[in-house]
Every structure is written in C-alpha cells, then in structure tokens.
Symmetry: C2
Subunit: 193 residues, 2 copies
C-alpha cells in the first residue's frame, strides 16, 4: 500500500472504511526517512514526480485518441491519479508546495541546505515552506524576473502552474529593485531619462 519504504500512510490492519488523512509533513534532511506518523520532504517531492508520470499517461492516451493533450498537471490528471489508486494525491496539497518543489528542481544544493537549516532549528513545515520563496525570487532576479520563463525552461517544472503568491512576490520585488536602481541612477525602468 505504501508508495516507498518508510513513506506514506501505512495501510496496516486498518479497514478501508476508516482510511485516514495522510500523515503531516515534517522538515527532513535529504535522504532522511521521517519516523512516527510523519512524512518527509523526499516523499513530498516524490509525489510531484508521480504526478508527472500520471500526466505522461494522460498525454499518451489523449494522443492515441486524437484528443487535445494537456501540457500541465490539470484537474483531469488529478482525477486520473485518483482513479489509478493514488488517493494520497490531491490538488490543494500539490499546489500548496509547488514553489518548494521548484526550488528543489532549480537549485537542489540551496534546497538541501535550507532543509538542513530548518530541521536544525526545529522549524515546522509551514516555516520551511515560507522560507522557500526568497531564494526563488533571487533566482528570478538573475533571470530578468520572468518566473514563467524559469518554470517553462525546466522540463520537470514546466508542467506546473506558477503559484500566484510566487508570481506576486517576483512582481513586487522587481518594482522595488527598479525603484531603487532608478533612484540611484541605474535606470532599468521605462522612460529612464
């Protein structure tokens, strides 16, 4: 019933009628297996890879049938995953942590370092999740602030919608950067003279 050793909820002797929610995530180091009724972050990221596999299956079927072919993980893909027995995958969860997965894809070293720091400090998942935004905004700053282009140019990330909050942070920070560079004579904004 489990997806990987030591991950996911144990099916154990539990009756189907009393199936529980997934165990909550805790901040784990890379390679670390969560103990007790918890799931680790490697498992979280593995769920994104599973969604990608389901998308590829949906795409293959769509092409065979001459139907329009999704390029993103859509409602259709979540429905397919559920039908295929992956009841632990759902849209609100996957959307909630997309930017964390993005950091893992775009700068695995930075992502790993952040995990170690937040585990060290005993921070909860919400705090770690929140901290994933800032390094992404920094990456965007170095790429002309185009977070859509950054997502689309990465093969495993391009199938995910850019989260609204990440988009807003990039936009706000770009305006701040432009205003300060303009004030100091940088002149990256329009009508610089």
């Amino acid at each position: 019933m489990d997806d990987m050793n030591g991950h996911g909820n144990g099916g154990g002797g539990r009756l189907l009628s009393e199936r529980q929610r997934e165990h909550p995530f805790i901040v784990t180091e890379p390679g670390e297996v969560a103990r007790g009724k918890k799931n680790g972050l490697d498992y979280l990221f593995h769920l994104y890879e599973q969604c990608r596999d389901f998308l590829i299956q949906v795409q293959t079927i769509a092409k065979e049938h001459g139907e329009k072919c999704p390029t993103k993980v859509t409602n259709q893909v979540f429905r397919f995953a559920k039908k295929a027995g992956a009841s632990y995958i759902n849209k609100p969860k996957m959307r909630h942590y997309v930017h964390c997965y993005a950091l893992h894809c775009l700068d695995e070293e930075a992502s790993n370092a952040l995990r170690r720091v937040f585990k060290e400090r005993g921070e909860n998942v919400g705090a770690w999740r929140h901290a994933c935004y800032k390094p992404l905004v920094t990456i965007a700053a170095g790429q002309g602030w185009d977070i859509d282009a950054i997502f689309n140019s990465h093969p495993r990330l391009s199938i995910w919608y850019v989260p609204t909050k990440l988009r807003q942070l990039c936009h706000t920070e770009r305006n701040n950067a432009t205003a300060s560079s303009s004030a100091s004579g940088g002149g990256v904004d329009h009508l610089p003279y």
Copy 2:
C-alpha cells in the same frame, strides 16, 4: 466606424440603439471587396489579425502587472476587444472560421485557389468553409498528423485553439491511412508484425 474601406457594417445614419448584426460573409477572391450588404474573406482574415493585436495588448498589460499572461485568444481577449469598441468581434464567429484562417496562414496559394474556385461556382460561405478542411488534413498527413504542432509552429496561428472538428478529421484520417498501409504491408501502426 468601418474598419477598412469597403468592409464592415456601415454606421451610416443608423442610431446606436438599432445597431445591426454584421453583414454575412460571401466568398470573394483575394483583393476583392464585397459589394452590397456583404463582407468579403479578406475582411474575415483581417479580423483574426485584429484579435492577435488585442491579444498582444492583453499580454503587455498582464506582464506590466505581473499577472499570468495568456498565450491564446481567450475569453479575456474577446472581452478586451469588445471593451475597446470592436463589437463586431465575438467568440463563436472567430471559432467558426479558425480552420479557414489556418489554411490561409499555412498555404496561402492553396487558400487563394480554393476561394477562386468556390467564387466561380457561386458557392455560399458554408460550402467554402467546409472545403477548407480537406487541404488541412492533407498538410497534416505530410507532418506526422500532428495538427497541434502545425498550429503551434506558425507564429500567427499558434494563438488559436485547434478546432475540435479539424482535430477529429485528422485523427480519423490517420487511422484510415494506417489501416490501409497496414493492409498493404506498410506497417506504420503499432505491433506491425
């Protein structure tokens, strides 16, 4: 009020309260202006170019505001066009003739020849519209039947959704071609031996 000389509905002395529907299309040769209360096919294709302009405006605004940026002519673009005063543009009409515009984009010579033949024969717009499917299916046959790739690789066509009926025709015809090549020993289908 008119969009181009000799095209669109005349505003004339008509009151705003009694604004009429657009004049119906008739089959015209390239460069020919429709006479009487009719619109020609150059005007039809011009509407697609106008939609493209409106999309580009919507995209520019979206990027300025750090919002998600449409890549296709969506409801949002039709709403924008209407708000900008292009009341003669609407979704059902544009969707109805997309494949005709596609032929115009992909093989203007073939499109022009078809217009001349159907004008010569005195056919109505519906007959011409129907006849636009077949040359497109032939083009798709020469490109691995991937009508989505054909649309997406053309800069002016890529902003339009592939019409359902065109997709279905390509799918059906691909299966027919595969079956006959299989029967004659071609073996393009899966499990050919």
